[in-house]
């Protein structure tokens, strides 16, 4: 993996060796394992994978929002401030809860949550929530209302809908309000966990393009999604997660045209635009993962070698027998 180098054009966020375990009465859930990932300003990194593979746990770990039965190891360095006298990077995994709540969540890191309906305070209108957030982040009493309208328009919310209470909003409208709230402090890092669930396609595209514009304006964006088409639309690079690990991380174009990990290839084949064929078999239980490659039971390239956990040796996939696309072409008989 790349070394962690938080210099000027280095990553804004550098996650190294992130591991999350949940203790259950009779088992341990391996939710995230030895995960390495970094996001630069102006870069949009997507994390994709089947439901339950650990994507949301990754996001929650970065925000210190994991439940009490979780154990976290590794580091997640966030660059804060700029210039020569900037403070040393903050390790999100080692931060005290107070510091996370005051300095990080909402301020340095904006979270667009998965189920916004539950994340919104039910007793205030969208406008009050938004204005309060803007006021807390440096907007004046005079300019906050205009800024609120502008943000609402940005996320595709009718300004009139801002005067409703969260329970009066449809799932899609609540999602857009949550997005506006996350964008309000103009955080340098945006974490979007399934930001398009419950939206119809035009709104999905609208939300994705909005994230892309924030990114082009200099924000670093980590987009967590089960929606491959969404990742393809806006991401610079895509990390494919399987059974708690990233198994391939590649530039978007390369991943979609020439996946190297057999799981990435199988997942892409499930798209209705492609073979519409499910990945054979079922994901393993995260309480009972094999010692070697967790995909082996479903993989048609598996050999004895796969009993050992594959590393990201040379290529971009953690696999003992990655698909080699150039070779596939070379093997076509003359």
């Amino acid at each position: 993996m790349t070394s962690i180098d938080l210099d000027h054009d280095g990553p804004l966020l550098a996650v190294a060796g992130l591991t999350v375990r949940f203790r259950l009465p009779d088992a341990v859930v391996h939710a995230v394992t030895d995960l390495h990932l970094s996001v630069r300003p102006g870069e949009l990194v997507a994390v994709v994978g089947e439901s339950g593979c650990g994507k949301s746990v990754l996001a929650h770990a970065l925000l210190g929002l994991l439940p009490r039965n979780a154990t976290v190891t590794g580091s997640a360095l966030l660059r804060t401030g700029a210039g020569i006298r900037r403070p040393p990077p903050l390790d999100l995994l080692a931060c005290a809860p107070r510091q996370l709540a005051r300095q990080v969540r909402g301020r340095a890191v904006g979270l667009v949550p998965q189920s916004p309906a539950t994340a919104l305070t039910p007793v205030r209108t969208g406008r009050r929530l938004l204005v309060e957030t803007l006021r807390a982040h440096g907007h004046t009493r005079a300019d906050a209302p205009t800024a609120a309208d502008r943000l609402a328009a940005d996320v595709g919310l009718n300004p009139a809908d801002l005067d409703r209470y969260p329970h009066e909003l449809s799932g899609g409208m609540a999602q857009r309000l949550a997005t506006a709230l996350a964008l309000a402090p103009d955080p340098p890092l945006l974490l979007a966990d399934e930001p398009t669930t419950g939206l119809d396609r035009p709104l999905v595209d609208h939300t994705l393009d909005l994230l892309r514009r924030r990114c082009d304006a200099g924000a670093a964006v980590l987009l967590i999604t089960h929606d491959l088409v969404a990742a393809q639309r806006v991401a610079d690079t895509v990390a494919v997660m399987y059974a708690s690990r990233i198994v391939e991380h590649a530039p978007t174009e390369a991943l979609f045209s020439a996946p190297e990990h057999p799981y990435s290839a199988a997942l892409l084949d499930a798209l209705p635009q492609r073979a519409f064929r499910p990945v054979p078999g079922h994901p393993p239980m995260l309480t009972d993962l094999p010692a070697g490659c967790a995909f082996a039971a479903r993989c048609d390239r598996a050999t004895e070698a796969c009993r050992v956990q594959p590393a990201f040796a040379a290529g971009r996939a953690a696999c003992h027998h990655p698909l080699e696309h150039s070779q596939v072409h070379a093997e076509v008989p003359a």
Partner: protein
């Protein structure tokens, strides 16, 4: 199989909405719309948000009564909503929703979730057990998942359980309202494959509601557009 209550007056097999209208308050979402799903056929229903796709599904599933027009099942007009019609009629149509969490009782294990519609009509326990196991296998749920409650499984796993539940009475018509919208590509393709297999075996008619034109192009035999 004989279907009491449907034999008389059968004209054209299929699940049909005939000139149905529906409104919420003063807003009319469906205005004299026709839709027909033949046995064995997969019809896609496409249209923008708010165009009445889910309303159409709810009318066809007898969850709502239309303001105008009627629903007919295999040629027999149905008057009344679900609990007012004979079991043999209402079990002809099953519906699968987008959000499995909103549609399930959080206190039930996945096994109970699947078994409940059988228990509700007094199916003997050993038959319930056997059919539950068979359906779990069909949708790809392993035994360890069946004893869990919804909070302890993923959306994909819960939707598989809902699919099993919807197939309990071997419905003649299955309505999938954005049923795969929140699922990953693999789980989506798997749900579609399970529905397709059930459809082939039982000559069932399927309605697939989706925003996703690529999905409908792949899954449906024909696509109906709601304005």
């Amino acid at each position: 199989m004989t279907r009491p209550g449907l034999a008389a007056g059968v004209t054209r097999p299929g699940l049909a909405a005939c000139q149905v209208s529906a409104s919420y308050g003063t807003q009319r979402v469906l205005d004299a719309v026709d839709l027909h799903i033949a046995p064995g056929e997969t019809v896609g229903l496409h249209g923008p948000s708010g165009s009445g796709k889910s309303t159409m599904a709810r009318l066809l599933a007898l969850l709502h009564r239309p303001d105008g027009g009627h629903v007919s099942i295999d040629g027999t007009p149905v008057t009344g909503i679900r609990h007012q019609v004979p079991v043999a009629v209402r079990t002809r149509v099953a519906i699968l929703f987008q959000s499995p969490r909103a549609a399930t009782d959080p206190r039930l294990t996945l096994a109970d979730l699947i078994a409940e519609p059988m228990r509700a009509i007094g199916t003997p326990p050993e038959q319930v057990r056997a059919r539950t196991a068979e359906l779990a296998d069909t949708v790809g749920l392993t035994a360890d998942l069946l004893t869990r409650r919804p909070h302890a499984v993923s959306d994909g796993q819960l939707q598989r359980a809902c699919l099993a539940r919807s197939l309990v009475h071997r419905p003649g018509y299955l309505l999938c309202d954005e049923a795969t919208a929140m699922l990953d590509a693999s789980t989506q393709a798997h749900v579609a494959a399970v529905v397709g297999e059930f459809q082939r075996r039982h000559d069932a008619g399927v309605l697939v509601i989706s925003h996703d034109a690529a999905l409908l192009a792949r899954w449906a035999d024909r696509v109906v557009e709601l304005p």
